[in-house]
Subunit: 287 residues, 6 copies
């Protein structure tokens, strides 16, 4: 069960509203690297967490709940970037001209309006749960596999691409308030990368957790090829020795080797189509 | 540029065709944990790989190319599970009765036909690029961020959920041919988990690669909260000490601490809606 | 069964073609507030209408059929905004320069071309069934629940957001022809809002139709909480009295009350994962 | 900012786990009538709420926050329906046979497994943010228009279809625990229908709030057709008098009339395609 | 502008309602081979038709309008398959047992209910605009390119897969009414295949219309490879002579030849990532 | 099984990087007319090809494999258009200013950045598998019906819209390198249009292959309407004689005729809703 505080987790201030930056922030709300994704991903992992202990469920709930507040901060930042501060709105004539003012001229404003159609046409100058190109977020990106270690790597992946995005936004930001908000969110992404990797460490690290799932007996997998780098270049060239193709494997259970890919199977032959299957007669062999 | 060999990378044999298992295999083709995903993900990472060396581009091309062959194997397995072996098809009357034979009765067959509608209605008994529920694969799942370390974690995540899926399919399989094919694919997933983690090791491991991106100066992020676990329970309870909230961080650059979440910001106030923005008069303050 | 008239329901004239406005009009074609949505929604509600009378099916067919003509008008308006009137096209050199002429310069034209890619690259200067950001319309937005009152509220919602959109387009329009077309469509949205609300009135209004579905006996629902506003603020604050939390309910069947949210349930415990389920050993309890 | 309580808002008990019912419950999680939708819809409406007062933002936050807890309850119910109570899991041999036990035989179990592929193959027996057919929830269903009255009708629509769904699930449920959970959720839907309608009443009711948006001057819309029911039957038949086509309009600002649809516009003529536009020569007029 | 007739284009009768067949019919409504697709495709092609004549616009309007009636017939067929004829519904006790009656037993009914969730949970026993697996139709499948000949081939493709689907449904149908309806729809698909091919003939046939677009001067394309079949087998084998790799081309403008694929380009080198682009230091070359 | 060559099939050179053109090229990668589509379409057609011979499977594999190389070329072209050649990157200050340099000023650059958000925010200046508007490619566009002739027409449609797109890109290109690359790809599209049409010729041409599927006996279809053009104009007007409504049909098996559409069926009547189906009482007839 949940409760809310009217105040934001961290201050969100916008000195100079910038509708283009509002649009960019959408990527951090509804992009695949964004906050809706991590929020929902951690919740669904929590709500499905099985195991002898509830500690991982509990941990996930702490962080998922934090993430709702991040969506809230970003949605607030979008709205503020699409408008002036409330006080100024009382100043009459300017109320309409904000987008124009930012861009400094008539034609660019026209262009910008075209680019901002969803904010202008559909949301009335508010954030929406889609990315910076207006593509709505799709919940198939919520990864929750039922395997705790796999889920942790999914989370590291999400927080890694998430921090990459946040630093790109930071580099693109011109406003001190936006930079301040982002420098907090970047720090949280740092922690979250750490946090999920630390769970993997707690679960045994590379040696104990791998290969994922560690509950499937490795005797059942093809042990002739489970640590082979398959080379597939048509000229038969192979990569020079590197950490990922030479020496002990990361889990300490094998030796990396380079293997030249060769067909071990045959050419598949499916045979004719069935009568009444809607194929052409030629496929059925009726001709 | 690419070329093909008519033979499969590994043998695909189906002793007893099973249309329900065909349907399950679709998840490994067009599910988010499936082979289209990793194939295309590695290709787009390769084609956009920037850096002073082409070695990572090259590595990714080797493995992406291998993965096309995995889609091929699975598509072949689906087709074979939807039909008898070619030789038997010559035996006249049986050609139609396969689905029925598998299920052993009229009513269940009817049910199964309903479940297999896409294979029956749309593909003529062949694989399609969607998951086991008929949802088409959506290319937004191809993660390629331009950051090599982030991409490697995305790949580990994909191969971890991929191997989880493959072992579930193995456990569900009744046919020796299918078990054999899957025991090879599971082994390849083992290697691919290793391979991407080894690249991260080569890039400096936890200490060198984290936080991702390592090119963003950590001085610019909020250093008061970048290694804090934020506790968000309403009763103020905090998790007991664990690897992920106590002691040195994974990257060796901080100390994990538990921090009780408190609002540092204010309640946001957006002010009235603009005239002519399509809001109600009450929002504009015109009433 | 249907028939068509070559003429439009209402005149569509474009004095000064404006490709950016064409793009904005797409939202009214293929946006979730647009005309494809209401057209198909009313059709599917009609085709599935059950009840002792066919009068609602009939009513829905009248209006759904009108809406095809609205899509037609908008698609025509898009095409006209993307080109000059046919006569002018005979004037040689200008044929290519239309987009440029509108924008008045080389660079902005380049920008506009980039923004109009789908109209230029995919449709050859015609409308398409997607929104102003190029996202194709998705038929999951066709709401037809089998409950007539619920459907009417879905329709009111569609026509309310639809009229909001149409007035925003009207405010953005510079061309008299476009303003004329939109002032007709806005009027039709006014009527359609009225129409669906009047059906609810005919079905008994708030008292008779609510709660929807009115065929589910209210004795079976939890009668201690069916008219409570649940307050979920962490500081325990509750909203001041308002129409929606104090006094008689809208359906006259209860009293609005404010209730402070408290957990009535326990912490859920799911227990360990099953063996062979692809979880980590730690989740299965095998370690 | 948000916080969580480990306990559920309302008890969720499952006496006899039923995997088919688990699947049905998914519709209430990730269907367009489900809880993710209302939760996110109310949040985005709140975060973008503009106006001279924050009371609607506040109200929306209360209810949005409640809804997170509803997703949580349903996700818990799905997980419990997919498994036995934890105590029983210690009993060895039965661990695998749950689905079979429910269905009472080998073949149906096989069928059920096929139907449950996502729960078995992808989530490890947990809920996911998709509907009962495995289609992921798509955030384009979050309606937040920037117009408060339009949004309220969107919310009424969501809670109406939501309560219809919940009563259908109640009618389909065999388990007392599930019926108890649903009888609470149905009550909450009752209140939420009331609540949003009461806001419209507070905003002036039909007379004050309509047509939406009420900030667009009705003088600007086509006043000859704004209260006409357009009849579109090819035989010229019109509906008999009813509340929606005869008498005063709902907003008291017009009279309902029936109008026989006639073309007021001309047949549109677009003229030839441009040279270099990728059309056929015949369209360009070059032949 | 459009009008409707209350009667169906062709009789739709269902002797024995079959909910599984209802589900299969959905593919013909909202599948990519279905009627919504052709209806909307022809409309958007018509509304964007450019050229010196309106005859193709007119032709497309005739057929698009016919197709609305096909969606209507199928939606009616779905509803009838989900219920008994109205008269029987008066017979009390049976009202609930229809699905059970069809399947003849308790367990299969349970299974069927699970499979039919959307019809039961979301539509109240009516058709919806999605395919037989519940995936909503997505308007990106409306192909309208602005090139008349390309569009005609898109239409032939749609009607070819459409007739394949319709014959599969015919073969799966057990009910005489359904077979009758389908035998009419199959005939219409026959005509529509013919019709679009005849337009291509009118546009010059293979010689005149190809390559599409015929307005692009062939001198500008690479004339050394425009009639070559590229062989890409890694063993260098080439296909035996066939109509598609040997002899005069279909358009009479070239000779089919087999060409062994060889790399004409170099290995691409993208160089280092930019500073501040969110890449790892190793990609930027900063290490 | 597959292998790769590090070199490109055809040279890809970019003299003047142009980020807007990069964006346009995305349509040829991940648009519905693009190369991912044809590549995957040919592969899935190949992997499901049934028939007495493997020659069509083989042919499809040759061409599908070629198409991977086309995606590679386009992805490379996108990356090069988003950056300068590597040598120049060493020149310090310019590294950041590339996008600005292309556009020649501060404001346009800002606009362009907004438009390129996905390339800047999500991919780090690389191609992605989506179209020019950022919409990800969706695999439902992979048409593989199990009917060889239907599939060939799907392929002609894909290559026709594909060549239309490629010529539009050629016309929009300013860079000689890009024009050269495209003039090769246009030539390949010419061949692929030819190739699939030649297969249909080999399968019997119009007379032998039509109607598709030719394995469904035409006696079973409604022979009174299978070569009729249905006229649906409300004024009863019919099209003048044309190849598609007059004279012998394309398959030589019928005569085109114009038929005035009339309702042959009745108005459908569905009867009341079932009790407990979640309808309103009025629909059930309980009032």
């Amino acid at each position: 069960m949940f409760s809310f505080d009217r105040r934001l987790q961290y201050p969100v201030k916008v000195g100079s509203p910038d509708p283009i930056f509002a649009r960019m922030l959408q990527q951090a709300i509804g992009g695949v690297e964004g906050e809706i994704r991590v929020c929902m991903q951690y919740f669904f992992q929590a709500w499905g967490a099985r195991g002898p202990t509830t500690k991982y469920r509990d941990m996930l709930l702490h962080t998922a709940t934090e993430e709702i507040g991040h969506i809230e901060m970003l949605a607030t930042a979008v709205a503020l970037n699409l408008d002036k501060a409330p006080a100024s709105l009382a100043e009459a004539g300017a109320a309409d001209g904000i987008v124009g003012a930012v861009m400094g001229g008539e034609n660019p404003r026209h262009v910008v309006e075209g680019m901002l159609h969803r904010h202008i046409l559909s949301t009335g100058m508010a954030a929406f749960p889609g990315n910076s190109e207006g593509v709505p977020f799709d919940m198939s990106h919520i990864y929750a596999s039922g395997n705790l270690a796999a889920d942790m790597y999914c989370n590291v992946a999400a927080e890694s691409t998430g921090r990459v995005l946040a630093t790109r936004l930071y580099n693109a930001a011109h406003d001190d308030g936006m930079k301040d908000m982002l420098h907090f969110m970047i720090a949280r992404d740092t922690m979250h990368q750490q946090q999920w990797l630390a769970v993997i460490e707690e679960l045994g690290g590379h040696e104990g957790a791998l290969p994922i799932p560690n509950s499937f007996p490795q005797e059942k997998e093809d042990q002739t090829h489970n640590y082979d780098f398959f080379a597939t270049a048509s000229d038969g060239s192979v990569p020079p020795p590197a950490r990922w193709n030479d020496g002990p494997s990361m889990d300490g259970k094998g030796q990396f080797t380079v293997f030249q890919n060769v067909p071990m199977g045959d050419e598949p032959v499916l045979g004719p189509a069935r009568p009444d299957s809607g194929a052409q007669n030629e496929q059925i062999g009726k001709v």
